[in-house]
């Protein structure tokens, strides 16, 4: 019997023990995320990338800014959610998404999207199933180098994002997502990205997770081809969840 996996598992349990004993504050306020991973696929090799995100979560709105770097481009994104209508079972709001891609060679892409966002919640209060569907329109402007200068053209197309999260415990959840874009890669219509992931709140201020995404080519004409696999691990840090020592 190999000892290494057993020892690693035991060490993980030990590291989680203090977290299991504490009360979990709600995940509001500032959030910082670090992520790393790679894109791969048949004949693609391995393309590493890294990203950093900073966000702020309030009761009715969320803002998130992020930057990622890969082998061919630097990408920046901004998300803003506003959910003025919130009931126990559903939410209704708006989302805006902006993406800017600067190719390391030359040229750029910008994406500006607006969405109507519908959220649904079902199941037990402590382990709910939460779904969110964003439907909207994207405007893509692509700049390319032509004869020594940068020219550009503009396109419009429908865009969507669906996310289903199931809490398994108070600390852990799994999720499935199907989206026509991700925050740092916005293909043309309709090349969806399917993702599954899980995260676990190991401490009140720290959440760890992993995600696998499959990127498809043109699914609208029914000749889709899985032309990329993205593996991602991430750590979310919530400074506002750090417990302050009680005064004597």
């Amino acid at each position: 019997m190999k000892k290494t996996p057993v020892l690693l598992g035991f060490a993980l349990l030990l590291s989680l023990y203090p977290a299991m004993a504490e009360d979990l504050p709600a995940l509001m306020g500032t959030r910082l995320s670090l992520s790393s991973g790679m894109e791969t696929g048949v004949g693609m090799g391995r393309k590493p990338y890294g990203l950093f995100e900073a966000g702020y979560d309030a009761k009715k709105w969320t803002v998130q800014l992020g930057a990622s770097l890969d082998a061919i481009s630097a990408n920046y994104s901004a998300n803003l959610y506003f959910e003025p209508i919130q009931t126990r079972f559903f939410t209704l709001g708006l989302r805006s998404f902006n993406h800017f891609c600067q190719y390391l060679s030359s040229g750029y892409e910008t994406d500006i999207s607006g969405y109507l966002s519908l959220g649904l919640q079902a199941g037990r209060a402590r382990r709910p199933l939460r779904c969110r569907l964003d439907l909207g329109v994207n405007q893509k402007q692509s700049g390319y180098e032509a004869s020594g200068q940068i020219d550009s053209f503009t396109e419009y197309y429908p865009s969507f994002s669906f996310l289903a999260r199931q809490s398994l415990t108070e600390r852990g959840q799994v999720y499935f997502a199907c989206s026509s874009f991700d925050d740092y890669y916005v293909p043309l219509f309709l090349a969806p990205i399917f993702s599954v992931g899980a995260d676990y709140r190991v401490r009140s201020e720290l959440r760890l997770g992993a995600k696998v995404s499959v990127r498809y080519s043109d699914m609208a004409t029914l000749t889709a081809h899985a032309d990329g696999l993205k593996l991602q691990i991430f750590a979310d840090f919530f400074p506002s969840a750090i417990k302050k020592p009680k005064k004597a």
């Binding site: 390319y144 396109e155 197309y157 889709a224």
Partner: protein, 304 residues
């Protein structure tokens, strides 16, 4: 358990309905022989015989969609006559830019093979094709490779100092391996170039559909064409046709061969003149069996 029975029944009926769809929708998440397999290497094929590599003409048709010919008007005789009756700049070969079938089944490939045989007998010139998305339905690639010339969709030939590149975009993407091989081959090729495939890059179409879906791949192609003396990029797929001038090269999205009530069937003669550095594109349009053939001509400059 009671809830599972109707769910299972509904899923079975749904699957049966999807499976019976003509386009083989049960292969929604991946079809056999994807672009990675099909475009594993760039094939050098024998060039067509032309009398003068300084000036020659070739015909182009796209999206004939054999299998739909009973629904739409198919201007076969008008097309054959335009080739055989051409007095000057008679086409010396034909290019077919994909979707030779509608659903990729063998009967439709046989219809195309019969058409190609009639064309060869009537006009006496060879044809070359690339695969379109419709050709891949129902595992159509297996029949494509056996039936359609030259049996691959990623290939090249040269006429004088000009190379003709044919790309496989049947899945709506080149895929990284094909793109890397294409980059290596184009970078090592000093010839002027023309590129032929099924999917448009952009085509001046503001609605983002009927195009290559990976915008990074599109960007890489524009850069590659800009750096490697590509004069024109010819595509089909968008049946109404479109055009875009990238400054460094031009994209001509050609209209479909068959005619509908709202759109004439079209075919094209392209004349390359290396002496005057021009490409003349003559468009033939037929609306119905009783209508005449309208002809118009555009001229594009080629790089020195």
């Amino acid at each position: 358990m009671k809830a599972l029975l109707p769910a299972a029944l509904a899923m079975s009926l749904g699957f049966a309905a999807l499976s019976s769809c003509d386009f083989g929708i049960y292969e929604l998440f991946g079809r056999p022989n994807d672009v990675i397999t099909r475009a594993a290497s760039l094939t050098e094929v024998a060039a067509p015989s032309v009398a003068n590599t300084q000036r020659y003409t070739f015909a182009i048709i796209t999206d004939p969609h054999f299998g739909m010919s009973s629904v739409y008007y198919f201007p076969e005789s008008e097309f054959f006559n335009s080739v055989t009756e051409a007095s000057a700049d008679k086409p010396e070969f034909l290019l077919v830019l994909g979707d030779v079938t509608n659903t990729g089944v063998k009967a439709e490939y046989q219809d195309f093979a019969d058409f190609a045989q009639r064309f060869t007998e009537a006009c006496g010139i060879p044809y070359y094709a690339v695969a379109g998305n419709h050709d891949l339905y129902n595992d159509g690639w297996t029949t494509w490779a056996q039936t359609v010339n030259p049996g691959t969709s990623f290939y090249r030939f040269a006429l004088g100092r000009r190379s003709f590149y044919f790309l496989d975009t049947g899945n709506g993407t080149l895929g990284d391996p094909q793109l890397e091989k294409l980059s290596a081959e184009m970078n090592a090729d000093a010839n002027r170039k023309l590129v032929f495939t099924h999917y448009p890059l952009f085509g001046g179409i503001s609605f983002s559909y009927f195009k290559l879906t990976n915008s990074r791949e599109r960007k890489a192609l524009i850069d590659l064409f800009n750096a490697n003396s590509v004069d024109m990029y010819f595509a089909g797929h968008w049946h109404d046709g479109a055009f875009y001038d990238y400054s460094c090269f031009k994209e001509e999205v050609l209209s479909a061969f068959y005619a509908t009530k709202s759109r004439p069937g079209r075919w094209f003669f392209a004349t390359v003149d290396e002496g005057s550095h021009t490409l003349s594109l003559k468009t033939y349009a037929v609306e119905s069996a009783s209508g005449g053939t309208a002809v118009s001509t555009q001229e594009f400059s080629l790089k020195n």
